[in-house]
């Protein structure tokens, strides 16, 4: 269903430094340089944008309508065609991408911002849960992810050393990412010396608490070619949600990630095919979730997974998904990859999953 008909590409990507706590700047001040940067890279201004869409969450700052003021970082004047989702910026990009499938606009700015440091982030995320049966028990996100990790261990497919290996590789890759928050070169043995936060998850298997902002610019057809030497063409994009009832899911798999990859044109429907891309940026906030996602997509050893360090290196809530798309697109724009997959997730234990397929060439027969 969700394959590009009109060719649309990511032509610019910018992000703030991802930090444990942004103490100096308010949301507008944090966003403003990122927006300026994403425009500057392609020599555009806000007046060139056909559509603007953003993603953020009121509860992160504890204020209703917190996205309203953030628009001042763009300067919404003259009035703009503009919308907002209370979701990760990756979903805002999906909205922009669908609207670009219609012919009346050529460009879109997508941005998101989130600071996890201001609130008791674990408790904020608990409020995502069923308000009658689950939230009143106040399970924190680590507790729920740990249930998933234990189920994965029980399945016999992976163990704690595999989780540590994912975390170690993430930190090594993050050394090449100037915006990453957590990097280093720890051995699996060292990491296995970490304390449990909620067993079987040790400290290294958890995402950091991160503040940050990000933005991308999308452009259609020839406009993309004018703006960018190597546009990262979106060849397909899809997202799918699972039931909220954790006890009605198989937590060790991610069928909706696979379904979204089919929707994005990366896999055939049915069968046990594998996604073949040069790079995959997977939004796996917890180490074991990367393993679940790799299996769901059938990623082989030839795929570079999370060369940015992924969400274990920086995980600004509402931002980290769109950063995955930006990082994957960046590899195509800098010529280091021909094809890429980006994934974003939302909700407890990978409840909702988005897959974006990117390539150095537009999809198919160049229709329209």
């Amino acid at each position: 269903m969700a394959r590009s008909v009109r060719p649309v590409a990511v032509v610019s990507f910018a992000q703030s430094a991802m930090v444990r706590r942004e103490e100096r700047l308010n949301d507008v001040e944090m966003l403003q340089p990122v927006i300026a940067d994403v425009f500057e890279k392609v020599g555009l201004t806000k007046d060139d944008m056909g559509f603007v869409c953003s993603g953020s969450c009121d509860y992160l700052v504890g204020a209703p309508f917190s996205f309203v003021g953030a628009l001042d970082a763009v300067g919404a004047w003259p009035p703009m065609r503009e919308s907002h989702v209370e979701m990760d910026g990756a979903f805002a990009m999906y909205e922009a991408w669908t609207q670009l499938q219609e012919d009346d606009i050529e460009t879109a700015l997508v941005f998101s911002f989130g600071r996890s440091s201001m609130s008791e982030i674990g408790r904020v995320l608990t409020l995502q849960l069923d308000p009658y049966y689950v939230a009143p028990l106040w399970p924190d996100p680590v507790a729920l992810a740990a249930l998933q990790a234990q189920a994965l261990i029980d399945s016999g497919r992976y163990g704690e050393a595999d989780f540590a290996a994912v975390a170690g590789r993430s930190r090594r890759d993050a050394r090449n990412n100037p915006n990453a928050q957590v990097s280093g070169d720890p051995s699996t043995e060292e990491l296995l010396g970490d304390d449990y936060v909620v067993a079987p998850l040790r400290r290294h298997a958890l995402p950091p608490i991160t503040d940050g902002a990000t933005a991308v610019i999308l452009a259609a057809g020839d406009r993309a070619r004018e703006l960018c030497e190597r546009p990262a063409w979106i060849t397909g994009m899809d997202h799918r949600i699972e039931t909220h009832a954790l006890g009605a899911r198989d937590l060790t798999s991610s069928p909706t990630t696979r379904r979204a990859a089919v929707g994005a044109g990366l896999l055939e429907d049915g069968g046990d095919g594998s996604v073949a891309v040069d790079v995959a940026e997977l939004h796996a906030p917890f180490a074991h979730q990367e393993l679940i996602l790799r299996d769901a997509l059938g990623l082989g050893d030839g795929v570079a997974v999370n060369p940015s360090g992924g969400a274990l290196a920086a995980n600004a809530v509402m931002v980290a998904g769109l950063v995955r798309i930006g990082e994957a697109a960046g590899r195509i724009m800098d010529g280091t990859a021909r094809t890429a997959l980006a994934h974003a997730t939302s909700g407890p234990c990978l409840q909702q999953n988005l897959v974006c397929a990117l390539a150095a060439e537009p999809a198919g027969d160049g229709r329209r």
Partner: protein, 151 residues
């Protein structure tokens, strides 16, 4: 401006929400208050616990409510060495998905156990109720689950 000159202040959002339950959630909570656990039957004959007004996969309306448990099987668990604010127990405990006898889905709750070595997937547990006089129609009317035979 130096970082130290930026103003910071605490901020609190606090409210006691009053949630009307509707018939299905209300029946489950009434059951808990009265010391029994109810599940909802889906059109395919599956029993959903805790019950929602709808099948958690197909969204079809559920039918009859049936009593399940109070014992069941741990399908997965995790160990909270450091309990957090508002969580059900103040000493270290296990989070668990428990599939009650007679149910086709598992529910989230906690297990009071001596330590992680006392926990395993597949273990049988049973509900430990709060005293009847303290039960109000809340998921915490079940104080926790405990290993079957240890109650």
């Amino acid at each position: 401006m130096a970082e130290s000159e930026v103003l910071r202040a605490p901020h609190v959002i606090e409210y006691t929400y009053t949630r009307s339950t509707g018939p299905v959630i209300g029946a489950f909570l009434t059951g808990l208050r009265d010391g029994k656990i109810l599940g909802a039957t889906t059109p395919q004959g599956r029993v959903v616990v805790p019950p929602t007004e709808y099948d958690p996969i197909t969204s079809e309306e559920v039918g009859e409510l049936v009593e399940v448990g109070p014992s069941g099987v741990v399908t997965t668990w995790s160990w909270a060495q450091t309990p957090q604010k508002d969580q059900p127990l103040e000493r270290p405990f296990a989070w668990a998905l428990v599939q009650l006898d007679g149910a086709d889905t598992a529910m989230l709750h906690v297990v009071d156990a001596a330590g992680p070595e006392a926990m395993s997937s597949g273990m049988r547990v049973t509900a430990r109720w709060r005293p009847a006089a303290e039960r109000i129609g809340h998921i915490k009317d079940i104080e926790c689950f405990v290993a079957e035979g240890s109650a």
